[in-house]
Amino acid sequence: MTDKTITVKCVFFGSAKEMAGVGEYAATVPEGARASVLRKQLAERFVILGDAALETNIALNQQYVAVDDDPVLSDRDEVAMIPPISGG
């Protein structure tokens, strides 16, 4: 089991950004980690997000992730927290 880690850039918007208090966060996760691992880390780092960290839609490199998908992350990926949309 390697100790290698990767860095993932997390971006927050709307209510998620307001709750987290930041717009961006550089997360370090183990190489080979899935999005669910990142979500748990965000839930721990930003306690006030609560269940939102685990349940909010996300986008990986600007592609929405299906709710039943749990993709493996790569170094320098960008993961966006996508709260319920309200454009227009």
Partner: protein
């Protein structure tokens, strides 16, 4: 011969902080071979659920929002046969009476452009990563959620349903 043209690259899709220009959208989509230009403007309304609204504040995941608007214009071309599209979304404060979003399509005959605009604003409200906060005369601001938004369907490709909506 000429390289294949990416038709979708001919559409104007932009997120901007500056006030939106309806005129820019109309001038952009208007073509000699199109007899119809249809447009939609989403404008800040002064009330919601009995409360007085002072302004709306918009945030966008700008590069992805522009990409999604481009997908919407490309889907409109395929489904409705429109020849050119424009989609502008504003960020920051959008005061009562000002436009937060403008859509425009041009088609040879009017039925297609009108259908395209109606479909496109619904799809934008469902899929484009933009968020708004309603700021009231009294009380704390509130983040809104569009009725069109469905978390289970967010990752489905942008497109027109096969039920004849494409006419």
């Amino acid at each position: 011969m000429a390289a294949a043209v990416d038709a979708a690259a001919d559409d104007l899709c932009r997120v901007q902080a500056e006030p939106l220009s309806h005129d820019e959208c109309v001038r952009f989509v208007t073509r000699d071979d199109c007899g119809a230009v249809a447009t939609f403007l989403g404008v800040t309304r002064d009330n919601f659920a009995g409360k007085k609204v002072v302004t709306l504040r918009y945030e966008a995941y700008a590069p992805m929002a522009e990409a999604k608007m481009r997908e919407i214009c490309a889907a409109a071309r395929e489904a409705f046969g429109v020849k050119r599209g424009a989609a502008l979304h504003r960020t920051g404060e959008v005061a009562v009476g000002e436009a937060s979003v403008i859509l425009a399509f041009a088609s040879p005959h009017r039925a297609d452009a009108l259908k395209a605009v109606a479909w496109a604003i619904d799809e934008l409200k469902a899929k484009v990563p933009v968020w708004k906060q309603e700021v009231y005369a009294d009380g704390a601001p509130a983040w809104k959620e569009n009725a069109e938004f469905d978390p289970a369907k967010l990752s489905e490709p942008v497109g027109v349903p096969d039920d004849g909506a494409a006419g």
